[in-house]
């Protein structure tokens, strides 16, 4: 009982602190902006820990964060192997192939308005479909190892990147294109020096959407068959053994990998599209 009361007290205290923080001048600063969500995150962890301990929730339903952290530390080699199998081999290679193919396809159909008018609605339609469902087929074709996961990722990231790139290539303004024409710029010069740079905010929008899709595709494809390593395999296997602390540790890895991947792409975006209004501070 003492755990429950303590965690509720911590919650009340942290919330009061957050309310004061968010109405004070601190919040204008960068530190203040980070402190409020950080405090909220810590509160959730403390309340989680307190409730699980105080109410005696069994570990097979919800393990406390401390147990998850302990398991995380103890199983680092396994987690690292799973991470390499799923993220580095499956998701990253699929992401590179899928985004590259989509980008090249977009440039290839750039000269044909006919193909664009046809491909854009189809691409938009496919982007809304539950493409994850293609995983069992690709697992049959490419085997259980990472190649099939990469193939799922390729299919999943292709259409969002394609649609965004095609939209981006149309984003430069008429005046700017006319200016290039008055300089006698060839198609490729105008593409490289005006239209591709102007397309970059759109391209990166697609690339950012694709980061999440890549991880989802790689993990879910493992639910349909995998070698005995990988994040999706470990999650299903440990769920079956009721080792939920290990499942949560894998989820923590997936969350870290997902946000780090997204953050990396966002960082590159900031470097590449420094001129765009949304990147100016």
């Amino acid at each position: 009982m003492i755990w429950v009361i303590l965690s509720l007290a911590f919650w009340a205290g942290a919330w009061a602190a957050n309310v004061r923080l968010s109405h004070s001048a601190m919040v204008q600063s960068r530190a203040g902006r980070l402190a409020v969500p950080a405090l909220f995150g810590v509160t959730i962890l403390v309340v989680w820990e307190g409730m699980v301990r105080g109410l005696g929730v069994p570990g097979v339903i919800l393990p406390p964060p401390s147990a998850i952290a302990a398991r995380f530390g103890a199983e680092l080699p396994t987690l690292w192997a799973d991470f390499r199998q799923t993220f580095v081999k499956g998701a990253l290679s699929g992401y590179a192939i899928g985004c590259g193919a989509a980008f090249l396809t977009a440039i290839a159909i750039d000269r044909s308005p006919f193909l664009q008018r046809g491909l854009l609605p189809v691409g938009n339609f496919v982007a809304a479909l539950p493409i994850v469902g293609i995983a069992p087929i690709l697992v049959m074709w490419f085997g259980f190892d990472w190649q099939s996961k990469a193939a799922v990722v390729v299919v999943m990231v292709f259409f969002p990147v394609l649609v965004n790139t095609v939209a981006g290539l149309a984003a430069s303004e008429r005046m700017q294109r006319d200016l290039m024409a008055t300089w006698g710029a060839s198609y490729w010069q105008s593409l490289l020096k005006l239209r591709l740079p102007a397309a970059m905010p759109f391209v990166f929008n697609g690339l950012k959407i694709a980061t999440t899709l890549a991880l989802i595709g790689a993990i879910v494809a493992e639910f349909f068959g995998s070698p005995i390593v990988g994040m999706g395999f470990r999650i299903t296997a440990e769920v079956g053994r009721l080792g939920l602390d290990m499942v949560w540790a894998e989820i923590a890895v997936a969350a870290l990998a997902g946000s780090a991947f997204y953050g990396l792409v966002a960082l590159i975006e900031r470097r590449v599209t420094f001129w765009h209004p949304s990147q100016r501070v």
């Binding site: 109405h23 008018r117 469902g133 953050g263």
Partner: protein, 287 residues
């Protein structure tokens, strides 16, 4: 109308490539059979043999469509082989989860715009959570809820709700914040209270944003319901059809389930689109 022809062309090209790939991918089996029987197969014999196999590596489009039609209209709706039955199992979980997720998302968004502390503490997490592969926790939710006695529709609906929740929160917060300072000032000169401002200005102007998120959310809900069916061991639903098809090598069945899922997804997104069109026109916001 000038889009119909290009779209049809692209679809035609896709179907043609598909047929070519069918011949190419299924030929090994035909050649193996022929070698076993000690006969040579010509190309003219190869093509029909690859297009009508029982368990092809890649089924031809007409096989998928035949299977889809057969298992949609040719079976009793209650039959375990009927795609209508499996589709309904998935659809009901999707819709329940979508309703829960959207309701909770709108409520949280309202809280966020009225409470500064909540905004600052919850919003960064809601945005960050979109970069996380949430779907990975689906098996755990199913098994945990199962072990405390919750079975059937609800666990899948919770995964669906979880997936549609965050897009709705983010979109709705953006929408409720979309009135500009001038409009808010006008309502202040009318001496409008907070709830009047909310009902007469913020809520109506959030509608376009809400519907955009609803389209994302309902597609995500369907994916959640399908993935939620995997760990229960292929009992019922479109996800179960995918899984049992992959266990037994029934490729035609997998493709038919996949197409059924695609049709359901397209119908759901189109339905939200139609409602969006109606609502925005009634509110005078149609573009």
């Amino acid at each position: 109308m000038n889009r119909v022809l290009p779209v049809l062309t692209v679809i035609g090209v896709i179907v043609a490539v598909w047929y070519a790939a069918t011949v190419w991918m299924n030929r090994t089996w035909v050649y193996d059979q022929a070698a076993r029987d000690g006969v040579e197969v010509s190309f003219a014999q190869l093509v029909p043999a690859t297009l009508n196999q029982e368990r092809p590596v890649l089924p031809a489009p007409h096989q998928v469509v035949t299977e889809l039609v057969k298992s949609t209209f040719g079976m009793k709706v209650t039959s375990k082989k009927s795609l209508v039955y499996h589709g309904w199992v998935t659809l009901s979980a999707t819709l329940l989860g979508f309703a829960i997720g959207t309701g909770a998302g709108v409520l949280l968004a309202v809280g966020i715009i009225h409470n500064r502390a909540m905004d600052l503490s919850v919003m960064p997490w809601a945005i960050a959570s979109q970069t996380i592969p949430i779907l990975a926790i689906a098996p755990m939710i199913i098994v945990v809820l199962n072990s405390i006695g919750v079975q059937g529709l609800l666990p899948k609906a919770i995964i669906s709700a979880y997936l549609s929740f965050f897009p709705v929160v983010v979109g709705m917060v953006k929408g409720l914040r979309s009135p500009d300072a001038m409009q808010l000032d006008l309502l202040r000169t009318y001496n409008a209270t907070g709830s009047e401002t909310f009902a007469k200005l913020r809520l109506p102007s959030s509608m376009p944003y809400l519907f955009t998120s609803l389209k994302v959310g309902i597609a995500a809900s369907l994916v959640g319901a399908i993935v939620g069916e995997l760990p229960t061991g292929a009992v019922a639903g479109l996800g179960a059809r995918l899984l049992s098809g992959s266990y037994y090598g029934q490729t035609v069945q997998i493709w038919a389930a996949l197409f059924a899922a695609a049709l359901v997804a397209a119908a759901l997104v189109a339905l939200v689109g139609v409602i969006e069109g109606r609502v925005l026109r009634r509110m005078g916001m149609a573009r």
